[in-house]
Amino acid sequence: MVRIMEKIAIVGIGMTKQERRKEAETFSDMVFEAVTRALEDAGMTIKDIDNIVTGCNDFWDGRTISSMAVGDASGACDKNISCVEGDGTFVAFYGMTRILSKSYRTTLVTAHSKGSESVSSLITNAMFDPIYTRPLGLDAITSSALQARRYMDKYGITEEQCAMVSVKNHGNAKNNPYSQLPMDISVDDVMHSRMLADPIKLLDTSPITDGACAIILAKEETAECFSNHPIWIKGVGFCADAYHLGDRDLAECKSLERAAQTAYRMAGIENPLKEIDVAEVYDAFSYQELMWAEGLSFCEKGGGGRLTESGKTKMGGSMPINPSGGCLSAHAVIAAGLIRMAEAALQVRGEAGDRQVEGVKTALAHGVNGPCGQSHCVWILEK
């Protein structure tokens, strides 16, 4: 189990607007924009960055060793740059451990993808093993539909309860100038939207998005030199479940429970619903916000539907989830988890503008890697 031996902070945050298709920028241009904003935000120059960890995926980018392609955009020349091929929350984890190694004072963490530039179904089909599963044509939507059906059957969750998440998150996106799909929709709109793979309908699904994000992590002494609003990492947890879909009960998310418990233990949190003020969770599909809320112990097992109906997770509720609009409103794969961290950090800073939740001291950010929530990473951030 990882124990954070020293204090590490987020000192710089930068992100691009998340859009359906960015015609003026290549993926490295997007990273340059996000990095420039993060440096400006931190009051740093590229010289203050000791090492870089990029989040990018060869398949999404259409080039191998994709980290090299964003080397210039992230100031990697003459520096140590490495890559995490997975969600931004995992990229940040590696960036943090490089500082814990005592080899570096600061790490620049980037994450990007341009979903517009290829065919998402073909790319997500490729995450499955080529011998047993890929030939079936399974992709992110159909595999998630298998999970949604299992979860709903086991716990009596309804499609309407899932639809409420979509209504809430698209509505929240109206307050977020960076989000792709701010929308005023109703549960009826979601229920009547095009069926993709039962029970997942179009409005239960996240969009195809182009976007990038960068955060700068620093050890305590360095954070205090540069930033007048360092956001401290109080706890983090990271856990993987089995790879083959059939090896898991898809209605359960043991790896999230473990990751959350590790993060909570580290942060000294015993009652998450009371002690956490806001959460940004990875809602690639509407049912996932319900499932992950359970895995994060915001409610009892099977209680995700009732939690959503209670209104506690709305803006103004006792535990707002996804004030940014979440992945349902903008989903640049790889970047999305880092954006959850950036949004959570902005909430703690009190700089979240119209999407600010009142009185935030402690925020949670969550990311997922692998099909049907195979691996989860949970962060607890505090002033």
């Binding site: 003026a24 259409g62 073909l122 080529p130 399974l138 992709d139 059906r149 299992r150 879909l245 090896d247």
Partner: protein, 153 residues
Amino acid sequence: MNRWLESVEPLVYESRIKVPYTWSVGETGSRFLIELRDRKKIFGTRCSKCDIVYLPPRKNCSRCFSNLGEWVELGLRGTLITFTVVHYESPAMPIKPPFAYGIILLDGASTGLVHFLGEVNIEKIKPAMRVEAIFKDERIGDILDIRYFRPLQ
């Protein structure tokens, strides 16, 4: 977006990466697929420590890391754990919608197999349905030698 770009059509470069692979299926996978092809039988591998039978069969146990050498013949029948009916087209899919996927727990296995459901009324699929494997007449040593799983008559 800067003003210059507003007056011109943004250029798009179209290409694709077409890379052929010849993955060795390996000893474990080969035995499984050859049994599908030659004898229309489905085999898993068993971890005696954990008392788990893996389908598809594995070389090692994902829980205790032991090497798995014990092969277990499984029934051709099983129980449907979950399913979905697909209504959109994708170039990744070998067939056109509407069609159904399922995760099937075969009798004797501890893990589920993802596959197609066939000869089924897509409106009437229910979890816990009993299903059986239907093989293709022409088989090549491929997971699709199983055509689909259909509800027991």
